[in-house]
Symmetry: C4
């Protein structure tokens, strides 16, 4: 069990160290060494590498919403859910610290040492997601539910052994591309967290590392939306996949046997 | 049969939710969170994911032009064509609704709640394709015939078991890349619909969701071109592939057996 | 033999229809629907798709320099070289015609119907390569020799069965990526033709389709450099690969048997 | 042994010829034919192609830090380390010479024949890395340790046969993507050398080819940081991987046998 937690910690660490790192590079370089498409690719690559790191031990959830959806609809033991979620969040926290450490001098050069949550020199958005000004909390919840539902539909389509997916060793880059797809299509509203650990771990880091309580009050208290939305969306997406194609594949398998 | 329709519905839904989503993100963010290359990648990824979702049940046509070409030249049962085309179009319609729902507040922030087909604040082009001002209907027909012929030549080259293509589980990302290729090379005239369901489903959605009849009258009544052109082009492309390499592969196979 | 020529024709047709198409889209849209990186990707995808189309019949040379290098150092029959080179060049010519036909109205909108080889409204560079002003013919020859040598080293590293390369069905996308690499690194001097058919077929098309003799006189009579350079470079690259790793692999194989 | 050195020479040559080539193209074209994302892709593709070239003979280290980490923690013979490192550095030097030769006229057009280490017309950064003005040597050391540790964690996750990685023939493009990930996320501080041969070989070339001693004194004597940092980081990354998931995989394997 400790070893599973260690693998989820390392897998999520890798996801976040690249994901937060790519946003840090774009923001701190004032877009000279980054672009929005680069951010999409960076998160996709982080997913790919995080999955490869943890897959041999746990199958690589690296996302509490995935862990919960597998518990609700695939029989993953509920008893393991808290430890998985804690390890994932801790891995995301630790990765945020490593990115901050690596770019500490770049942060100081960018903001003069004053860590801000909002404004032109804000850097809190490097770590956690914040909504567009026009987005209501309800609209944000829809955004996170849709994004995470699409994540789960895609993950299941790619990894369902009854479907026409690839060998298990190719799932990692394809799930990475799935996250690129969500990023280029559903990132505008609120930065496509679609993963409670990806958002809460780095947000907690900013709260204790100098950005202060504003990271929880910003966006009308936005912080809980990228936790609740993904949990709902992941279960919904699993259900949509099962109704849309899962049942047809099951009955095909039944006919064969 | 219902299950095949459900799979084609879900596969085309996924294609369009990412494809229309990526255009929505670029337009509504005023290019801050998108680019033309990002659009090309988004459609390619949508194809890849839609194919993975439906492949285990139907082989994943997710395009009425593909369904018709397989009926004309590969013995796919004509009796199934209407149900496939209807499911594909309905999936594209539903995906348009989901994108609109997810970005509803962003639409209002962009156009103040007035849905337009033409002009700087137009958003109809997020959903369906519209031609460049210089393009005649005849020129548009050529464009759609050529684009869809290339689509079918590529699909057949990748998936023809007699040729040197990859295992079936790798076809999805390669066909996604094929659509990226068509997008970077043949998207300028009229947005590379190359799929009647991809264009007509979302266009119908805009007609009923607030953009009005202009979506059918714009571009000198452009709407039928991305339906007729792909149907012709898909059959033509299949024929070109068969003449160019298919026959050589058949006679090689004959020699072997 | 006719079938091999047909496959090389179709494979090179696909390479050029996407490669010339992507440049056409960038130039004619005044960079709105294209970018330099998009051009690099378009050529890479064209290579991938052209290889998949022809691989089952001929192994997919789609480049006279590859054909000649295989004749010089791998025992490909010299008697077939002229037919292969002719089919490749004809495929490139036909693809240029299809791109021109598809974008005819866009050409007229861009240049008012006057086809130019040089200047802001020049469109000859859509089809064939032209050198930078600073490049001498000798420097261009070095450029083409180096680029094509790297092409062959890469092709051999990927497809040499004694080395650690992938299964044959994965060679096509990897060779496509190799051409992307050459494009992002060695395209600045003169547009990385690295393929006599890729350059001469489209150049011939422009000569007869309205651009006139200037396509042969421009760049101090540049046209022969992307023919001679690749032929030399391909043989050189094959030799470098054989000396660098090929011999070690051969002796390893000898030890095993 | 000579054959292993030749393979490491050729593999590193290919890595650097594309990596340095892509920076040369961006700088010398004043960004017309390149971009930061293009640079990231170019280095990733260089890694992929270099690995494919050398993998059949040596397993393709093409990086002295990898060679040393394998000696420290995987039993690679220390006696071979100096020859590997020398061959890698020599390959990087030779590749720099080939890039310079290919772009010689472009260099002259860009800087008028005066090779500079600093300033708007500087071209030394095409070959070796130089730190941002805000970066201290200590901060640079952290940067190189973190980047190279991530490189090794990723390489091991992808190639560890006990984990859920791909077949060996797919490692090359995935390690290329890993380097893209490091480039988009950890390239801002100091250009992500993460490879002593990649930095020192090209730096030595500039020292002797006209840029002079400034390439060693610039950045407060920066040159040794991309040598020392990667050596430390590679060993650290190997240790982190072993603690995080390697031990869990070992005990799983023990249970099975």
């Amino acid at each position: 069990m400790l070893r599973e937690a260690a693998a989820e910690f390392l897998g999520t660490f890798i996801l976040i160290v690249f994901g937060v790192g790519v946003v840090a590079q774009k923001v701190l370089s004032a877009d000279a060494n980054g672009s929005y498409l680069g951010i999409n690719l960076g998160w996709g690559l982080g997913v790919m590498l995080g999955v490869y790191a943890a897959a041999g031990v746990t199958g690589a959830h690296i996302n509490p919403a995935v862990t919960v959806a597998l518990a609700v609809r695939r029989g993953f033991p509920w008893a393991k859910v808290p430890a998985y979620a804690a390890a994932q969040t801790a891995g995301a926290f630790a990765a945020s610290a490593v990115v901050f450490l690596t770019y500490r001098e770049a942060f100081d050069a960018f903001d003069g040492g004053v860590r801000l949550v909002q404004g032109d020199l804000a850097t809190a958005g490097i770590f956690a997601t914040y909504p567009q000004p026009f987005l209501s909390l309800a609209g944000g919840l829809v955004d996170q539910v849709v994004g995470t539902a699409l994540l789960l539909i895609g993950v299941l389509a790619i990894s369902d052994q009854r479907n026409a997916g690839p060998p298990a060793w190719l799932a990692a880059p394809l799930i990475g591309l799935l996250v690129v797809a969500i990023g280029v299509a559903f990132g505008f509203n609120a930065g496509y967290a679609i993963n409670p650990a990806r958002d809460f771990g780095p947000r907690l880091f900013t709260a204790v590392a100098g950005w202060g309580r504003g990271v929880f009050t910003a966006g009308h208290g936005w912080w809980w939306v990228p936790i609740a939305g993904p949990l709902i969306g992941a279960v919904l997406g699993t259900w949509v996949y099962d109704v849309g194609v899962g049942q047809a594949l099951t009955s095909k398998a039944d006919v064969r046997s």
